[in-house]
Symmetry: C2
Subunit: 446 residues, 2 copies
């Protein structure tokens, strides 16, 4: 919808005619998927609040928005899409001059016994959120929740379940929660989850689900034991939803995402565009394509796409892998490359870490935060940073690190940069600057 | 003390002998001057908490620290300082090989009738803070405070007085509080001060002070009226304390600050160094020297100086004018050049502003914040940014803007950069990105 809206704005700006048809299989438009865990937790009181723009609002803006219809086939040569009405199954062709593929991502569902039992929920769409909330607030007696996956969504929904009074276990194959962090930083997240009373089982693969006679899940089977469960939430990630596009012959990369250029034009196919969770993006540090399913990238790419489709010129400059979340009061953020990612990309690295305070140490409310900076050995170029700390004010500092990485600053240049200082906001050396200094010192040693 | 400590560390690193003598007129070392208003307000319970390192700690680190002695004359040719013992007035010579001038700044005291009456306080040193606290907590009946100056210190101390139950008036010659902000942003600060019940009188010059028979201040005289006052605090800024250095022949610029190179070496004088509030710094956007009295710059310059003095190599890369403060719950920050400053520096400018929320709008605790970006007309290069908003989480975003300015990013590149997004931390487009986009659009129009 971001692309559609921007295309109309740009066409209007240039005084061009443009007719925009949008095909949507589901019942919702323009909602915040990232907000769903907070709706489930009760922080947000209704799904309506997550909806940025309703179908009616989009139509009032001049978009021919067709809901409850599914694109089943694209004929790139004839420039025609086969569209099935999900209500009655009737299919009819919709011609186009230019095509936008914004099919998003699909949640990964493990191919395991019992995986489709009642009481097992994904958490990608508003409908998923509603189904989970219906379960959590039903008259069914629920005591134990098991969350599969200790990534962003898994951790957020585990906190939501715990806050709703369920004894909550989180299971993950990896040896730490939040594998986008280095192990030492992930350990801080583990501590906070355990402090919350969440039972975290790492190095634990799920082998199946136990299902009761009524078809409702009753347990999560691992190699060691069966964890009793009255409700299960799957938070094991998403993958680009590209079947339709690949069937039509559009190119995907090793990441599974559609390949576009910086204007969001699909490579090798004039008049075909793509944006959002279904595409791969350029990572400015690893210089490799990556798929990062995140609303802010989708929005930005959609805007760029809309400008270009309507005859303007704009480019998406790529990503540096910035992400942020929280567990209870613990704020968590990262940007750039973690140590292993940097090595995979061919960098030799050095790190610097510090535990410092969010404000001057003598101020009321000073909270502990840990910052880790990853720098290139020798040059001390900023490759990445990670922050785990008590809020408020820890994690959003990642933006300064993200721009340091973005601009290929040296870690010691970050340490000397003119960041803001006053006692209620920072120690006299901001923690990210101390970590930057230490990383630079380490990068230049030996 | 930052320079002294770093010089010893660097000398040790290189295995060099170095003897460091520090001459301090007062009774304190290494304290947070920026923390004094929070001590006066009662947020910090004792002066001890503001002291980062005591004289004893410095001496334990190997510094020959001499307190209560004042340097009265420097003979650059003979490399000798005349040092007066403030206790007994005896003066004796102290020879040196290398000299560091770190004489800081002096508060501006208006040359007006009554300016030295009892009950009129400055607020630069710990002793000033103690004197003001003694007044505020004395048995003397205090009902009205007048603060002269509506800059950072003036606003912070006005809030402190108001919170201590005094009816507080702030007087400033300028037409707005916080003249480092553009008028539209300054107006938001005015609103918050008035909401706090502070009586703010702008466009009001102080002409003198009324003094009672007991020698205690009783009023602040302006062109229009005499404002009754039981206590007065002067917060009208500081100037570099360079008399001693100038008398010795060291060069100062039009700013009044000592002139150094990027290694903090005083221009034209081998073996003479200077850092902190007494020097001028290079402003990376205006490309002019500026004097900015701020602990974080002083610390960084001191570190650079210490490395160089002891035979290493480090440089201070200059400033972009970042500053941050708060009034009650309103957070205030700025970086780079404000509109008038940019024009003075020869830039043609365009601006973009937005009122948005600190978090996604649907999250509990979402607070309003206003961001303004100043960009160069045509190129859309980031020249500056200002943030005024409810906390927590508004003002520290200035660091992302500061690094955008620092790296000469375009405002539209900031808008597309990979800043962190999750509902508890930001809308899907961070407010600084929306303001950046608008500034870039304005910069390219016409």
């Amino acid at each position: 919808m971001s692309a559609a809206s921007q295309a109309l704005r740009t066409a209007k700006h240039y005084g061009r005619e443009l007719s925009v048809v949008v095909l949507e299989r589901g019942a919702w438009t323009s909602y915040s998927a990232c907000g769903i865990p907070y709706w489930v937790a009760g922080d947000v009181d209704s799904a309506d609040r997550l909806i940025a723009r309703t179908p009616e609002q989009h139509r009032a803006n001049g978009i021919d928005l067709r809901m409850g219809v599914e694109a089943t086939e694209i004929d790139l040569g004839a420039r025609v899409i086969q569209v099935r009405d999900t209500a009655n199954g009737a299919t009819r062709p919709v011609p186009y001059d230019q095509l936008v593929v914004a099919t998003g991502s699909l949640p990964i569902r493990p191919d395991l016994p019992g995986a489709f039992a009642d009481g097992i929920h994904g958490l990608q769409t508003l409908d998923d959120g509603k189904a989970l909330l219906d379960t959590l607030t039903s008259s069914r007696r629920l005591e134990r929740a098991v969350v599969v996956g200790a990534g962003y969504i898994g951790i957020e929904v585990a906190e939501a379940c715990q806050r709703r009074g369920l004894a909550t276990t989180v299971v993950d194959m990896a040896s730490q929660p939040m594998t986008t962090l280095d192990p030492d930083m992930g350990a801080l997240v583990r501590d906070e989850m355990e402090k919350l009373g969440i039972d975290l089982r790492t190095d634990t693969a799920v082998e199946g689900f136990e299902v009761g006679d009524d078809g409702w899940v009753s347990g999560v089977v691992t190699a060691d034991e069966t964890l009793p469960a009255d409700v299960v939430v799957l938070g094991i990630g998403v993958r680009p939803n590209t079947r339709l596009a690949r069937d039509a012959g559009l190119p995907t990369g090793a990441t599974g995402g559609l390949q576009t250029d910086r204007r969001q034009a699909v490579v090798g196919h004039d008049g075909v565009w793509a944006a959002g969770d279904c595409v791969e993006s350029f990572h400015r540090v690893s210089e490799r394509p990556v798929v990062i399913a995140l609303g802010t990238h989708a929005n930005k790419q959609g805007r760029v796409l809309g400008v270009n489709l309507a005859g303007g010129y704009d480019t998406f400059p790529g990503v540096v892998g910035t992400a942020i979340t929280k567990v209870h009061d613990l704020e968590i953020a990262r940007t750039g490359l973690a140590v292993d990612e940097a090595r995979d990309a061919g960098f030799d690295v050095a790190v610097g870490s510090v535990e410092s305070t969010t404000t001057s140490g003598y101020m009321p409310g000073a909270s502990l935060m840990t910052v880790k900076v990853v720098a290139e050995r020798g040059s001390a170029r900023m490759l990445g940073a990670q922050i785990v700390g008590a809020g408020p004010g820890s994690a959003k500092r990642i933006d300064a690190c993200a721009l340091a990485v973005w601009n290929e600053m040296r870690a010691d240049e970050l340490a000397m940069a003119d960041l803001s200082y006053a006692p209620p906001f920072s120690p006299v050396w901001d923690p990210v600057q101390i970590a930057g200094r230490r990383a630079a010192d380490a990068a230049r040693r030996g």
